[in-house]
Amino acid sequence: MMVSKPALRGKRPKVLVLRAPGTNCDMETALAFKRVGGEPELVSIADFKAAKVRLMEFSVVAIPGGFSYGDDVGAGKILANQVKLYMKEIRNFVRLGRPVIGICNGFQALVKAGLLPFSAAGEQTASFTANDSGRFESRWVHLRLNTQSMCLWTQGLPEMIELPVAHGEGKLVLKSPRHLEELKKNKSIALQYVSDDGKLLGYPHNPNGSVFNIAGLTNPEGNCLGLMPHPERFTVRHHHPNWTRQTFMKEGVGLEMFRNAVKYCQS
């Protein structure tokens, strides 16, 4: 498949940070893009409904975390329907190769809108359910990146990274075992929860009980990423829980993900 670069290249690529009632992580996500040279704009889903904005004017789309519409009928479900209804061009946006990221609630919405795992037919083949622990949980996790994946968001990052998760409905489930095989084959599993020595282990290393420890998915082309962990919460080293132990002297690894997308648009 042809992957074309964003139509509107420029010094500061325009980043659409999507808001819906109950979106929480919009400001820090926008700040992360701003710090790496993006030009973020908070756009409400209502603006799409009122046809006030045009998706194709943006170079990047980010769907941040939160509890959209209170998550009252399942995490991200209503937002997913709204995206399908009012942002019809989003599939085209992905197909054109422009960067899209869904974080936490945004990942849940991408999955429930049938955008991830990505298929030509656009059918939904995965979903989320309550954490195995039965509780909302906040904790930092170790993640292993799929170095064979095409994902542009994670290019050049170390194979093992740390990010925080905070969710109650983060357990990814797939429609059938066949779909897992497909994800493996297409190198679409971008991130997995692992122990600090890189093993696929259970709770608390896998904080929610996701199938095959999946923490993030990408489309085979690698421009659309969904993940439960929060990269926008590790954009300075002082975000790390152990920075006072002086074992993490570098900038937060999450910022690199946003930088990758912005650089990709600039090149």
Partner: protein
């Protein structure tokens, strides 16, 4: 729109002025006004002068405005206080203690104190930003319905901050719970909830509301005492950030009164609960308000945009009393004309006074210039929340309320706000009447080696010390990406941090400014059982040390007070409350830290299963907040590695009264007594050492004293420690090892310092009592040598940590 049910049709004029006093009091009690006879007479004479009968809406408005909840009669009224030696008249406890101390200090960075919905202080570099902070209690609702009570508790305090100045963006929530032990096995009266159910409910309430609002809950505490079993305490706090230009609000006559947020229903209507005398089986219908975080999030998001576009001139939240108190407050100095038909309602059969008084959640009232209204309405509707005109502010000095033109209330503002007769209460403080237990501090001996270790392990597993990870992890404590020092600290992110540090860069957008702030807490009702004065002092001291230990600038700290007490009509109870307030005054003066906001919750007592009055232990929560000038210099409490020096700052005295040791060993002693002048000098020296990057870790000594503090630092950092008790500065010079290890003398902190900085640290701490008492080790155990040099405690870190971690999970399995 639905019709909820037929409402009692007593909404019109009352036969108020002609009723005999006794019948009037009965009517008031029946309708749930909680007005005493003197207040009823004051209302009667007002309406006699006016020359007509009051409407139900008018009396309800006055009853709300004059309630203990809104007017704080006890704190603002005269008290004749006797402490056994002399009797004095306190004209206003609030004015003569807390306000007086703050006024005396007159700190320039306090931008708004006691006036607004929250205290406001300046923040960050360049004076462009300010922080609004408020801590509220929601005790009575949480006793009835823990989940809903906690939800609306946190929802309410968020609105307080949203209604401070022209509205602050919340960046931190805190929660503190005082409950009976989850394994309480005693009897409970009918209808009382078991403490496990209360604990699960209040945690879930704070979690579901706070997480959905996108505000990190990253501070607070838990305290267990069985005397809270009928009256659990739930403290909810919020800190918000606002631009300095938005600190002031003003109302101009002609401005529109605009209600934004959710519709109005019959929820949280105090009068209605009593009207159920004629409607059996519906008494719980309106007891607790219904929380809806998504609605509040919509209001928050719309308000922040409207504020920055300057579409309104003033704002306040709808809390107790609903529209009546919100509009009454805003119109205090001018007047208002309200037409209730503008209010969106949940059901069509609300009585006019019910609309006026409803405590339906998620509503704010704004003062909006006429020319801005259209834009404002569009904005709120775009966010999917309500916006409607309720009337206008006037210069009449009157509050006039109508529904479709028919009068609901027409009151003089002066009478409404200042017409309440003052009641003089009596307070008595008696000390020393309680039997004295065996003094703590057994002599050391060969057998102590096992004994002190076993005490330490039991202390770490004690409910008031043990790990709160089960609670903390349910909160999204990192949303907004500003929690740079987290509530859980250490190598494995599970140690007990002293306080969080928040860097509100996402809210301000100024990521190059490394200014942050920290919030700490002090609460210890066990000391209060001995003397509420010293309890207040100790709480202030501990809250400050929480801040000190993460590297905050305590010279710019502020305090908030939350008093929870039993009935102030019992002179002995009120005596304790006066003692606590005097303690707050002296703490503020002594530490040079002003109070900027506070709240009291009284009448926390209920009939137990045998029909006796069970009062809560008098409780003060002191919340302290201070700026962190540079978040990259913050410190955590976990040991950073082996071979470092351990310095204990402060003097250890024979102060075991109310201590954890006294509870575990059934012994007693003197209640801890801080010396604020000496303490603040030491704190400033420690702060100086931290800012010079001399300190690797810092932890305050609180429940369980030195023993618990060393253990927590050690297992959090996975380094062992050796401690030499003969090096500890004590007064008198010789104390039993048990006392040195577990005394709870205030104002002490333990510091870990690289040995190459030993000299520099001692130089920084010149003139301050401080001594090197040991070092960190690679051996994973704690080894303590006693006064005579023999080993008195030797325990593996894994045993200490296991004991500390297992308590709550086992009880809440």
């Amino acid at each position: 729109m639905t019709e909820c049910r037929a409402a009692p049709s007593d909404g019109g004029a009352l036969r108020f002025t002609v009723l005999p006093p006794k019948e009037l009091k009965e009517l008031g009690d029946k309708l749930g006004w909680s007005l005493n006879s003197a207040e009823l007479e004051a209302i009667r004479s007002y309406f006699k002068k006016v020359g007509r009968e009051p409407t139900r809406g008018e009396v309800e408005t006055i009853a709300q405005t004059w309630s203990e909840h809104c007017k704080h009669k006890t704190f603002n009224g005269p008290i004749r206080y006797s402490d056994g030696k002399k009797t004095q008249l306190i004209r206003s406890l609030f004015a003569e203690t807390i306000v007086k101390a703050t006024q005396g200090l007159s700190k320039p960075w306090c931008l708004s104190v006691f006036k607004d919905n929250a205290g406001i202080v300046s923040f960050g570099k360049g004076g462009r930003w300010a922080l609004a902070v408020k801590v509220e209690t929601h005790n009575h609702p949480c006793a009835v319905e823990p989940y809903g009570g906690a939800e609306t508790g946190i929802g309410g305090v968020i609105r307080d901050v949203l209604g401070a100045g022209l509205g602050a963006k919340p960046v931190l929530n805190t929660d503190t719970f005082c409950l009976a032990r989850p394994d309480y096995a005693g009897a409970l009266p009918e209808g009382a909830l078991h403490p496990v159910r209360t604990l699960r409910g209040v945690v879930a309430g704070v979690r579901d509301y706070g997480n959905r609002m996108g505000i990190p809950t990253a501070g607070g505490g838990l305290w267990f005492d069985d005397d809270y079993r009928l009256n659990p305490l739930v403290f909810c706090g919020t800190v918000g950030v606002l631009p300095t230009w938005a600190v002031r609000k003003e109302v101009k006559p002609g401005d529109l009164i605009v209600a934004v947020g959710g519709p109005t229903g019959r929820d949280g209507l105090h009068g209605a609960t009593f009207s159920s005398a004629t409607l059996e089986g519906e008494s719980d219908r309106t007891a607790v308000q219904i929380g809806h975080p998504l609605n509040e999030k919509r209001v928050l998001d719309a308000m922040m945009i409207a504020r920055d576009r300057k579409l309104y001139r003033a704002v306040t939240d709808c809390g107790a009393g609903g529209f009546s108190s919100a509009i009454g407050e805003l119109a205090k100095d001018c007047g208002a004309r309200v037409e209730l038909s503008g209010a969106p309602v949940k059901c069509s059969d609300l009585e006019p006074w019910e609309i006026w008084l409803s405590e339906a959640q998620e509503r704010m009232v704004l003062a909006v210039p006429r020319k801005s209204y259209a834009e404002l309405e569009k904005l709120f509707h775009a966010e999917g929340t309500g916006c409607s005109i309720l009337g206008e502010f006037t210069d009449s000095g009157r509050l006039v309320v109508t529904l479709k033109g028919a009068p609901v209330a027409d009151l003089d503002m002066g009478f409404l706000h200042d017409g309440m007769p003052k009641v003089e209460r009596r307070a008595v403080w008696t000390n020393g009447s309680k039997p004295k237990p065996r003094p703590c501090g057994r002599k050391s001996g060969a057998a102590d080696r096992g004994r002190l270790g076993s005490i330490l392990i039991r202390m770490l597993g004690h409910l008031n010390v043990c790990s709160r990870e089960w609670v903390i992890r349910q909160y999204d404590y990192e949303v907004q990406a500003g929690t740079v020092i987290k509530p859980l600290q250490g190598l494995r992110h599970d140690g007990p941090g002293d306080a969080c540090v928040i860097w509100p860069a996402a809210a301000t957008g100024e990521w190059e400014d490394l200014s942050g702030f920290s919030v700490g807490h002090g609460l210890n009702p066990s000391y209060g059982r001995l003397d509420p004065y010293w309890m207040a002092m100790c709480c202030a001291d501990e809250a400050l040390r929480n801040l000190l230990c993460v590297g905050a600038d305590i010279s710019k700290a502020v305090f908030l007070d939350n008093f929870c007490w039993a009935s102030p009509e019992v002179p002995e109870q009120l005596g304790g409350l006066v003692r606590a307030a005097l303690g707050c005054h002296d703490a503020a003066k002594g530490y040079s830290v002003p109070f900027i906001s506070g709240k009291d919750s009284l009448y926390n007592q209920s009939r137990d299963e045998k029909g006796r009055d069970l009062a809560i232990p008098g409780t003060v929560l002191i919340t302290a907040m201070a700026p962190v000038q540079d978040i990259t210099r913050s410190v955590t409490m976990d040991f950073k590695g082996p071979g470092n020096s351990l310095f204990l700052v402060g003097v250890t005295k024979d102060e075991t009264g109310g201590s954890l040791l006294s509870q575990m060993e059934s012994c007693g002693g003197e209640v801890p007594k801080p010396d604020p002048k000496a303490a603040i000098k030491a704190f400033k020296a420690v702060a100086g050492a931290i800012s010079k990057k001399l300190v690797l870790s810092a932890h305050d000594l609180s429940e369980g004293g030195l023993g618990v503090a060393v253990a927590e630092m050690a297992f959090s950092g996975e380094s062992g420690a050796t401690i030499e008790l003969d090096q500890v500065l004590t007064s008198p010079a010789m104390l039993p090892d048990e006392t040195t290890l577990f005394s709870e003398s205030p104002s002490r902190v333990l510091l870990e310092v690289s040995p190459k900085d030993d000299v520099a640290l001692m130089r920084a701490l010149k003139g301050v009592p401080a001594r090197r008492i040991g070092s960190t080790t690679a051996n994973p155990l704690i080894k303590v040598s006693g006064f005579d040099g023999s080993i008195v405690l030797e325990t593996l870190l894994v045993d200490l940590k296991t004991a500390w971690q297992k308590t709550l999970p086992e009880l809440l399995k």
